[in-house]
Symmetry: D2
Subunit: 349 residues, 4 copies
C-alpha cells in the first residue's frame, strides 16, 4: 500500500519543501509512512536488568549522595533503545530507589503517578496524605497523582524498591505540576492501616465520594495478593498466555488501581510454557519469586528473583519458568484502555 511508500523527491518538490518550510509547513507525504505505521515501531527494546548487579551500584550511590540531597536516590532503568530519555518504555519510567537507615526521602507532590514495588529490606514506611504504611517484600504501594508523599527508613538495613512512574506520559501531555513540602516529613493524621481497613475489605464508607481517579488503598500487601493466587491455583484454571494473572483493582470503581498505569500479579507454575502473546502495552516485569527464562521477539532472557525485564509493544512474549514463579508487572494498559488504543494478539488466529 502507498501508506508504506514515499513519493520520489523531485528537485521541483524539494524546492517547494524548502520554500514552505519557513512558513512552518511541511509535506505529509514525505513523512506519512514513518508516522502512520502498519504496526508499532518504536525504538523501545527488550532488556533485562540483573537485580544484584543494580543493587551493588545503588548501594555505591548510597555513599555518593544522600537521599535528601538527591531528593530521591534513584537509578533510572533506561531502555537501551531510548537512552537519554529517562524511559523504560515509550510512555513509562522505572527506577530503583534506595533509602538508607535513618534517612528520609523528603515530602513533595506532583502530577506524576507513582508505584513502589518493595524488593529489599523490611519495615521502612511511605506516607501519603497523612497516613503511613509499613513496607514489606512484594508490597505494591501507590503514591497518587497530586498526593503529598515522603519515605522514611527507621530500620537498620537499607530499603530498596522499584519505582514505576508515568513521567514520560505527563511530559508528553505537557501537564506536569510539582512542589516540595516545607518540611522533610508531612504531619501524620491517620492511623497506619486505616486506608486498607476502610477501603480494602469489599466495603466502603456509606457516603464515600472519591475525589481522585486513583485507588484509596495505597498499599496492596503482597501477603494478601499472593494468598489469592495460591487459593485460585487449586482450581487449576490456567490461561495459556498468562498462567494465572490478576489485575490490581481500585475498589471504588473496579478499574485499574491507577489512572495511567496498569499493574498485575501472575503465577506461573514450574514447567508451564506460555503461548506466544503480544499486546500494545509495553510491559515491565519483576520476578518476585522463582526463576526461569522469557523469550521476547525471539531474544531469550534468563531471570532470577528480583530481576527486572521489559517487553516492547507488540513483540511476542513466551515465559518458561524453571520453578514456580510469581511475576509483578506494570504497563500503560490503563491509559490505552481508556483511550481505546489497546490491542492484543493471543496467537489464536
Amino acid at each position: 500500500m502507498s501508506l508504506t511508500e514515499k513519493p520520489t523527491e523531485t528537485p521541483q518538490r524539494k524546492a517547494f519543501y524548502e520554500k514552505i518550510d519557513e512558513k512552518s509547513l511541511t509535506p505529509l507525504w514525505s513523512v506519512m509512512s514513518s508516522i502512520i505505521t502498519p504496526e508499532p515501531t518504536s525504538g523501545c527494546q527488550a532488556h533485562c536488568w540483573n537485580y544484584e548487579e543494580a543493587k551493588a551500584y545503588l548501594l555505591e550511590a548510597g555513599g555518593l549522595i544522600t537521599a535528601k540531597e538527591a531528593e530521591r536516590r534513584v537509578l533510572i532503568l533506561e531502555n537501551p533503545g531510548l537512552r537519554g530519555q529517562s524511559r523504560i518504555t515509550t510512555s513509562l519510567y522505572a527506577g530503583l530507589q534506595l533509602v538508607m537507615p535513618g534517612e528520609v526521602a523528603p515530602a513533595h507532590r506532583h502530577s506524576q503517578s507513582a508505584l513502589r514495588f518493595v524488593l529489599d529490606g523490611d519495615g521502612a514506611h511511605t506516607a501519603v496524605d497523612g497516613e503511613r504504611t509499613v513496607m514489606h517484600y512484594g508490597d505494591f504501594v501507590i503514591t497518587p497523582s497530586g498526593a503529598w508523599h515522603d519515605h522514611g527508613n527507621r530500620t537498620d538495613e537499607p530499603m530498596i524498591w522499584l519505582d514505576g512512574l508515568d513521567i514520560p506520559m505527563i511530559s508528553f501531555f505537557d501537564a506536569s505540576f510539582a512542589e516540595g513540602y516545607p518540611d522533610d516529613e508531612q504531619p501524620i493524621s491517620r492511623k497506619t492501616g486505616d486506608s486498607l481497613a476502610r477501603f480494602g475489605a469489599n466495603l466502603l464508607p456509606v457516603d464515600f465520594e472519591p475525589r481522585k481517579k486513583t485507588s484509596p488503598i495505597f498499599n496492596y500487601p503482597y501477603e494478601r495478593s499472593r494468598a489469592a493466587l495460591e487459593q485460585m491455583r487449586t482450581q487449576e484454571e490456567w490461561d495459556p498466555c498468562h498462567g494465572l494473572k490478576l489485575r490490581y483493582v481500585n475498589p471504588v470503581d473496579g478499574g485499574y488501581a491507577m489512572p495511567t498505569i496498569a499493574t498485575f500479579l501472575q503465577l506461573l507454575p514450574a514447567g508451564f510454557t506460555t503461548a506466544a502473546y503480544r499486546s500494545t502495552d509495553a510491559t515491565v516485569f519483576v520476578a518476585v519469586e522463582g526463576s526461569g527464562r522469557t523469550t521476547i521477539d525471539g531474544k531469550v532472557f534468563e531471570w532470577g528473583p528480583k530481576d527486572i525485564f521489559v517487553a516492547p509493544s507488540w513483540k511476542r512474549i513466551v515465559h518458561e519458568p524453571a520453578t514456580d514463579a510469581v511475576l509483578f508487572s506494570y504497563s500503560d494498559r490503563a491509559a490505552q484502555d481508556r483511550l481505546g488504543l489497546w490491542r492484543e494478539d493471543r496467537g489464536n488466529h
Copy 2:
C-alpha cells in the same frame, strides 16, 4: 525546593555515572528537575497560520503531486517549537488537505483518529464504513480509529479542509496500525445521511450497542451547530473565559465525540474580551467566522476568517473579537480528562 535544583556533579559522581551508563542505568537526581517540572514546560509555541497564504502553497502542491500519489495531499502545520516532529502540539497533529476536482484520496484505515473541518469548496464527500457524507463549510467530520475512509471530490472546485489527528499520541503509546484498501474507494452500503438521522436526533436504535469509543455520527453539520449557538445567544449567558462555548458530544454516552481529541465550537460577540484563561490542553483554534486578535502568553495574534492558531499548554489566552466571531477548536482534553491530568486556571483565584 530541591525538585528544581540539580546536585553538583563531583568528579567522583561523574565517574560513577559513566560506569553505570553501560548497564543502562542513569541517576535520577541529575535529570529530575527537567522531567518532573513545577509547571508544564514543552517546546510547543504559540503560532498563527494565515489561511490564504497556506492555501496558495497548498494549491501549488496541487500541481506538484496528485492526491493518489501522495495518498493524502496535505501540508502539515508544524509547530515552530517542534519542527521535524509533525506536531502542532506535543500530542496532536494538524494539516491542510487539498482534494482537486475529480480526485480521490484512496481508502485506508488506521488506529489514528481523525477530524476534518471544512474550509474551502462545497460538496466533496468523505466515506466512512460504507456511508458517504457530503461536506460543507464548517462541517466537523470524523473518520474514526480503525474505520475505512476515503475522500472524493466530484465538484468542479478544489476542496480544502483542516485535518486534526492524534498521530503523536498513537506513536507515543506505540499503538499504530494501518492498512490500505484494495480499491481507491470502498463500496457504499448505506444511504447518505443515515448516521445523522439514526444517531443525531436525540434518539438511538432501540437495541443499539456501540462497538467503538467514537461517535457514530461522523458529520456534525455546521448549519446545525451554528444555529444552536445563535439560539443560545438570545439567553445572554456569557462565560467570562469562553463567551458561549459548546462541546461536540458522542450521543451514545455524552462524552467527547472522539476518544482522544476534544472538539469545541464557540461564539464570541463583537467587542467581548475574554478573561485570561489557561488549561493543560494545548489547543488548536480555527476562525470559522469573523476576525479579531488573541493574546497568548503575552504574544498578540491577529486573525481573520479561516486562519488557524495554536495555544500551548498552561499559557494564558485572551480573545478580543473585532466582529462577532465563531471559533472551532480541538485539543487532547478528551485524553487528559480520561487520564485525570486535565487542569484549568480561570484566573479567579
Copy 3:
C-alpha cells in the same frame, strides 16, 4: 417443581399458623408458589382505549370541573385488571389531560416523573424550571422529577395530551414528595427553545454538570423524531419484531430520557406483520399515525389514530398495520434495565 406446589395444610399446621400470626410471622411455604412464580403473573390485562370516545368524556369533564379546581383535569386510563389502583400497568400510570382555552394547570412539583404526549390542539405550553415550550401534535414533553411545572393554553381550542407517570413506582418505593407553587404560574427566566438548542444538537455546554438523572431536553419535537424515522426508512433495515424502533435518549449520558420510564417511537410500514415478541416491560402504545391491529396474548385490538392500548408483561405482541403507522410507546424498561430485571423473548429460540 415444588416451587409451584403448596404443602398440604394439616390441622396441626393450621393451628401453628394461627399461633404465630399474632407475632407477625407467617409460613413461606403456604405462599411461596404465588410470590415466586415461574413466569410473570399480574392482574394487568391487555386493553385498548378508543381516543374519540375518551375525548368526548374528557370534554364533558371540561364542563364539570375547572383545571384549577382539579389541579389537573385528567381522566385516568385504568387497567381493567387493576381497577381502583390508578394504574395502566403494575408500575405505571396513564391519563388524558384537558386544558381549555385560557386555562392554567397550576404550578407544582413532585418526585413523580411525567411525560406528556400531545394528541389534540396546537400551541399550548408547558413550563419547566423557568422555561416554556410550545406543544404540537406528537411532541414528547417531559416534566422531570422535582421540577416546577405548569401548563397553560392561550390558544382558542382545547388542548389534550396523554400523561404518562411513574406514580405507582414512587408509591411502591414510598418516596413521594410533592408541593404546590405559591402562584398559578412560575416566573419565566429562559427563552423558549433554549434547552433544545443547548442540549439537543449533539453539543453540550463545555462545563455542563447534570444535576438530575432526567434529560435536560424537555421537548422532543415530533417533527424532528418523525424525520429521523423517514430518513432511516430509506435504508430498508427492518427489525422483524419492531419494524424501525427508536429510543428517546438523554444527551448527557445516552441513557433513557427519564430515569424510571423508557420512551420509544417506531415506524411500521403498511402490510408489515411483526414477529411475535414479548418482554417483561408492560408497554403503553399510542397510535400517532395510521391504523391497524395488534394481537396481544391472542386477543385482537383494532386501532386508529390516537387510540391507546396496553400490553402486559411477557404477553406476546404482534402488530399488523393496515397503513404506514407510527407508534409512540412507554414502559418501565428504564427501571428494569437499571435493576437488572428486564428480559425479552424475540421468539427466535
Copy 4:
C-alpha cells in the same frame, strides 16, 4: 396546596364518574391527593421481632414440615402494617430460615435476589453456581438473581439465618421467573473459597467480564468485615447519624453488592446516641452484637443480640446502644439510587 385537597363530589360529577367507570376511565382529581402525597405515606410500620421467640417457633416448624417439602422452611417476618403481603417493607421481604442437621434446601433459581445473614449454627453451606461456601455467624451470603442455589446442613446442630429478598419488587415489576433443579443439590465444580480469593482481595482476573449486576463474591465473611470496623474505630471518626457505617461493595464496579438491595454493617460504641436521621429507604436492622434501644418515629424498641427491627421510609431513627453494638442492615437504597428516588434528612437544616 390543592394537591392535598379533594374537589367536592357533586351529584352531577358522581353520575359522570359512574358513566366513565365502565370505559376503564376514572377522574384523577378524586384520587390525586392520595397517590401523589407531600411525603411518603405507606402502611409500613416500625416493628421489632424478638429473635429467641421467633427461633422457638421456627424450631417448632422444624417438627411440622421438612425443608424438602417446604422447599424452603422459612417463617416470613411480615410487617404489621402490611399483613398478608409477605413484606417487611413496601419493597422487600424478610424471613427466618431453618435447615436441620442432614437436611437440604433443594436447588432452584429465580429472578429474585436473595441475601442470607447467618444467625445460628456454624458450618452449614450454601452452593451458588457450582461453588459451596461454609456459613458462619454474621456472614453475609448472596444467592444472585438467576443463579442456581441450594443449602445444606451437614453439622449436628440446626442452622438459622435471616433471608432478605426483593420478592415484592420483582412482583411489582411483574418480572418473576423461577425454576427447580432436577436434583436436590447442584454439582460442585469450583473449590470452596475460590470466589472470595478470585474477587475479594482487591484484584480481579485480568480479562474478567462480569455477566451480571450482582457481586461475584457471594460470601462476605463477618470476621473480615468486623475487623475493618475495629481498625477504623481507632481513627475515632464518628458520623453523628451512623456512628461508623460501611456499605458492602461489588468489587467489579464499586456499586452495591446486589442490584436491588443495599447492605450495610455499622458499629455504634456504648453510650453513643445517634442524631435523628431519616431517609426514603425503609430499612431492616439486625443486631449482630450488643444491645440497646432504637426510637423510630417516636416509638421505642429495645433490642438484644439477633433481634430484628424495621424502620419505615422517612421516619426518624435514633439509636442508643447500651453496649458496643454492631448492626447489619438492608434496604432498597440500591434500587432507589439507580432510579434517582433516594433522599435523606440528616436533620442539619
